[in-house]
Amino acid sequence: MQTENIVQLKDISVTFDGETVLDNLSLDIKDKEFITFLGPSGCGKTTTLRLIAGFLEPDTGDVIFEGKKINGVPAYKRQVNTIFQRYALFPHLNVYENVAFGLRVKKLPNDQIKEKVTEMLKLVNLSGLEKRSIDTLSGGQQQRVAIARAIANHPKVLLLDEPLAALDLKLRKDMQKELKKIQEQLGITFIFVTHDQEEALTMSDRVVVMDGGKIQQVGTPQDIYNEPQNAFVADFIGESNIVDGVMLKDYYVEFSGAKFDCLDKGFEMNELVDVVVRPEDVDIVPVDKGMLTGVVTSVSFLGVHYEIIVDIGGFKWMIQTTDEHFVDDKVGLYIEPDAIHIMKKSEYSGLYGDYSSYSEEIDHLSDPEEVAE
């Protein structure tokens, strides 16, 4: 992977009607990488994408493309192309003409256009559908036309605004793989926006987690999952138990009334911290062998594993296990040192990571039914 930066955002702020949408955001995007902006609705991820596309200008700060400031350069002069959330295919044109649109604007000769369109349609597996009207295509096929149309222009950066949100689960998984494949084949930068953390982890070289117009963390999917920087990131990416703790000294932490060895250091003596333990990293053992003990309050079977909630001194932990347990069982918990992750206190401390109000129904209801920000 090359380390040259293709897009740089410097101290960018954007406000809409007095509301801060992006708050002093800075980010370097490397050439040829697959980078994902991940966050809940209204976190500013789509706004950031629109800044790079040129549909929006920042109130303060610079957008830099290949080392040159491009503030004020209109969208039609930028070497980026966008795939829109609902594809925005041109309904009065057929598949061929949709893909050829950008090439025709550039006034390329017909035979070159034909060659290019054929190549693009082959790349997205739509050969033979050239003459079809957009109305007659399935959602997945429309998605492919949108991809072909955007990359036919040879952009240096492809911007993807939740392109898979409208597809069903199975198709979405296939398209994830395919997009990744296309990105490797073309060797260009993809900037992908999604609210789906699984999608972000599967496809990206780097993930940018955003909330409240700020970047919460930038890192590889592994970094983001294993070393979340604050309670927001820990909660947004996967499931987490987040409890208050005290860092007694390097490699030694106290939480939930017990003391644990851990792998973290560099905190002050007795510094208050947030402790993250992933549900799959907790082992259930007999009470006498447990480092913590608690009572099972709910069990749900999810196929691969059970998800059980254990009450430990009033704090509800979520634990994933393949063994069956029953409500009201007394159990012991065992946590390995490398399963414990320590985070500095942040504005998000205490907001996340407690499963006392947890029920699958609520989780399902609050699932972000995606809307434009």
Partner: protein, 268 residues
């Protein structure tokens, strides 16, 4: 019950169209009597063709109808695009209300007030005869505009807001993006608006009466003819106008229902 409702509809249609049918019937009368049918002939149609006043007025009507339809379609489409771009809800409502005034207003009020305005301005710039071709054209554009805007605006609202951005993204300048992407997707709205404007202009009497001066259109000539004595060449002329408008309405309905079917299909 079903028979009764059919009878009811038949009666309604009969009373609606009986006058028109009687008129068409008598336009083929061979005598000049307007109540006794003495035999079939096309004499009145032939006398119509040789009537130069009538032909002149027909030409006036068509010129005004075509010009006012085209100009109001261009202005109305531009206005609709502008209205769509207004963010403030209050400003939007105000503009729509102002736009609708010529449509809601009684024709006679619009006609008289336009006449006063034209005469006033004409005196200001020192014209001896202020009413004529230009004023009747302006008047027709005025009352056509809201109909064009009202048929284009819904099409614009149905258009995916991202289409324009997609075109920009692919290298179009904003103006080019409008003509290549937005215009084709609102074309049915524009077509129906234009047909509507054309038919409205074609049969307008009241507003033209006050604003046309010497540039008399067909409805006004017909009115003047009936003041002397009603002759069947009026019937012949009215029959022709009826048929033209009837055909235009059928075309209008075909265009808009086709557009609706297409839109329904797009919603899956």
């Amino acid at each position: 019950m079903k028979a009764l409702s059919r009878l009811y509809i038949a009666l309604i249609l009969f009373f609606l169209y009986a006058p028109v049918l009687v008129m068409i019937f008598f336009s083929f009368n061979s005598s000049s009597s307007v109540w006794v049918f003495e035999g079939f002939s096309l004499d009145w149609y032939l006398s119509l063709i040789s009537n130069s006043t009538m032909l002149g007025a027909l030409k006036h009507t068509l010129v005004i109808a075509v010009l006012s339809a085209v100009i109001s379609t261009v202005l109305g489409t531009a206005a609709a695009v502008g209205i769509m771009a207004i963010r403030s809800k209050l400003a939007n409502k105000l503009i729509m209300a102002t736009t609708n005034i010529p449509m809601m207003n009684a024709d006679i009020v619009t006609g008289i007030s336009l006449m006063f305005l034209f005469v006033f301005v004409g005196k200001l710039i020192g014209l001896s005869e202020s009413l004529g071709f230009v004023t009747v054209l302006i008047a027709h554009i005025t009352f056509n505009l809201p109909y064009v805007i009202l048929s284009v605006l819904p099409k614009l609202k149905q258009t995916d807001a991202n289409l324009h951005e997609a075109a920009l993204d692919l290298g179009c300048t904003p103006v080019k993006a409008f003509f290549k992407v937005i215009l084709p997707s609102i074309s049915t709205g524009i077509a129906t608006g234009m047909i509507m404007a054309f038919t409205l202009s074609l049969d307008d009497f009241v507003i033209s009466y006050f604003t046309c001066g010497d540039y008399q259109t067909l409805p006004i000539i017909i009115y003047n003819m009936t003041k002397k004595s009603v002759t069947p060449d009026t019937y012949a002329l009215s029959t022709l106008i009826f048929i033209v408008i009837f055909l235009l309405l059928i075309f209008y309905n075909m265009v808009s229902s086709k557009a609706e079917r297409k839109a329904a299909k797009r919603r899956f």
